[in-house]
């Protein structure tokens, strides 16, 4: 039997553990903390997580997500991606003509795919989209993949750190749209799910289906369609 050292938790106030909170006391806390409805700001104020079940095997979802050119298909507005001189760093446009820099960090063993992005510059990629894929068989006892996607509200969302790079015209800063992130991400996740499930049902390659060679380097070739 493994036991805690007697002083393991000494000096740490505020812990709720069964030694101090009996069943009745924890029931009080639980019911008090359980509301029927929650304000949007409370749920999505500092972190925005969306999740979905996708009827497509985890390996195929991973392969699709790990390819940054897939963003051209399932995102609302990331377009025209191309390599930069920095290996692995791509540049495209978002929100019509804002330069969007993006690098994918993925781990096949852990089934994680993170997009490190920024508007206007590629030196500090502070907009991080964290994706974790879970085999649905393991957690929901059904085929497919559970995708969990989280963004954390980096301080730069509140204020553009590089205003000098902002185009001269009026532009809505990405962080000002944070209150719409839940909706926006839900829309894009629904796109992602629809594309993957369609290709899975039809027995097609998972994609993305690209016209021109992407030149993205090893590990992200995509599947090209002849014109």
């Amino acid at each position: 039997m493994t036991e805690l050292s007697p002083l393991a938790l000494a000096g740490i106030p505020g812990l709720v553990r069964c030694e101090q909170f009996d069943r009745e006391a924890i029931a009080e806390l639980l019911t008090e903390m359980t509301h029927g409805a929650y304000p949007h700001q409370q749920v999505y104020g500092d972190y925005c997580t969306v999740h979905a079940h996708i009827d497509c095997p985890p390996e195929r979802v991973f392969s699709y997500l790990a390819n940054p050119y897939s963003l051209l298909e399932w995102t609302y507005s990331v377009r025209s991606l191309q390599p930069t001189p920095t290996p692995g760093l791509l540049v495209g446009v978002d929100a019509q003509d804002t330069p969007l820099y993006c690098r994918v960090e993925s781990h096949a063993d852990a089934l994680t795919v993170d997009y490190h992005c920024a508007w206007d510059q590629g030196r500090e990629l502070w907009m991080v989209y964290l994706n974790r894929l879970v085999p649905a068989e393991r957690v929901l006892q059904r085929p497919g993949t559970v995708l969990i996607w989280t963004n954390c509200r980096h301080p730069y969302y509140a204020k553009n750190p590089f205003p000098e790079l902002e185009p001269a015209r009026e532009r809505t800063w990405v962080g000002d749209l944070w209150p719409f992130f839940y909706a926006g991400h839900s829309i894009e996740l629904a796109n992602l799910k629809a594309i993957l499930e369609h290709r899975q049902r039809a027995g097609l390659p998972v994609g993305p289906q690209l016209l021109t060679p992407a030149g993205g380097g090893p590990g992200m070739p995509g599947e090209r369609v002849r014109s």
Binding site: E28, L30, E32, G36, A37
Partner: protein
């Protein structure tokens, strides 16, 4: 459907005020689903439901200038712990107040939403053209009759119930019209609330243990989830049927099983502060009597504009019945 109006409500509270020292040590400090009220009323031995209804009804009869023999065609009752084993007290009430109703309906279901269930029955009977006036009566007397018993009063559940009686008078017409009423029965939840005795006896069998409500952690969690969802859902449905928005309600009164539910319903409906009126801290869980008692209490403490929208809503037991109604409060008295 024939238009019916809720003309008024009146209540009667037992004289005996019970504070938290009557119950287990630490009662006042409890939180969550078993948050205790500060005080509650208990009926005393011999204080019958028929007597409580009579007292409340007499006030209403006077206030509304009702001729009981002529104006009460329907008399409905719901009593938490009935006075007698075999029959309800409706006929005795009729005798006490001098009414000669064609229908006496002693309900032993619909608990905390009985007032609305009775209202629905009354308006349905009135639609037949055979009835014009109905007296609706709700009595909660489980506080004094059950939860004050030795062996129960030390339990966590004992301090919550409080006794009281609320009655309402409904008549065909447009004086204070019922705009909508939705009531649902969820039969799948019917078996989830049971009264048990420690010694395993049935309540009609002789034995030393008092009866109490069987709660388990899993059951409480399920009831919280149901209650959280049911009441806002039915309030929205009733508002939709009435053609109004929940945010336009001037007053919401509900049953009051726990301050947690009251908070959750307010939040879910995004009501302005003060719209949802309750008497939990003073009177505890009034079961079915909460709706008329809270309505009378609210009307005593605020002035509703003519035509203001009043909503009554709640759920009973473990979610077996739920209901909501929207009333346009007395527009015709002021035109």
């Amino acid at each position: 459907m024939t238009r019916v109006s809720l003309l008024g409500v009146a209540s009667q509270l037992p004289e005996r005020v019970v504070d938290n020292s009557f119950f287990a040590e630490g009662t006042a400090a409890r939180r969550g689903m078993f948050t205790a009220p500060t005080t509650r009323r208990h009926v005393q031995p011999g204080e019958t439901a028929a007597h409580m209804i009579e007292q409340a009804a007499r006030r209403l009869i006077e206030q509304q200038e009702i001729d009981p023999a002529r104006d009460i065609d329907i008399l409905c009752t719901n009593v938490a712990i009935p006075d007698q084993a075999f029959t309800g007290c409706g006929a005795e009430v009729a005798a006490r107040i001098g009414a000669r109703p064609r229908w006496v309906i002693d309900l032993h279901n619909s608990g905390c939403v009985s007032f609305l269930y009775q209202l629905d029955l009354a308006r349905t009977l009135m639609a037949s053209g055979e009835a014009r006036g109905a007296l609706l009566c709700c009595v909660q007397n489980a506080g004094g009759r059950l939860f004050s018993q030795a062996g129960v009063r030390q339990l966590t559940q004992a301090p919550i119930p409080g006794d009281g009686c609320g009655v309402g008078y409904v008549r065909v017409g447009d004086v204070s019209p019922l705009l909508s009423l939705v009531q649902h029965c969820q039969p799948e939840f019917a078996a989830d609330m049971t009264a048990i005795a420690e010694d395993g006896r049935q309540y009609w069998e002789p034995g030393p243990s008092p009866i109490r409500i069987a709660f388990s952690e899993a059951r409480v969690a399920a009831i919280i989830q149901r209650g959280n969802a049911l009441v806002p859902e039915l309030v929205r449905l009733a508002c939709e049927q009435a053609g109004v928005a929940a945010r336009d309600l001037a007053l919401l009164v509900t049953n009051q099983p726990s301050p947690i539910f009251l908070r959750n319903w307010r939040e879910a409906l995004e009501l302005a502060p003060g719209v949802h009126h309750d008497t939990f801290a003073r009177l505890g869980n009034l079961f079915g009597a909460a709706l008329p008692i809270n309505l009378e209490d609210a009307l005593a403490s605020r002035r509703l504009e003519p035509g203001a929208l009043v909503c009554m809503a709640g759920f009973s037991h473990a979610g077996d019945y739920a209901a909501a109604a929207v009333i346009r409060w007395r527009p015709s008295l002021h035109v």
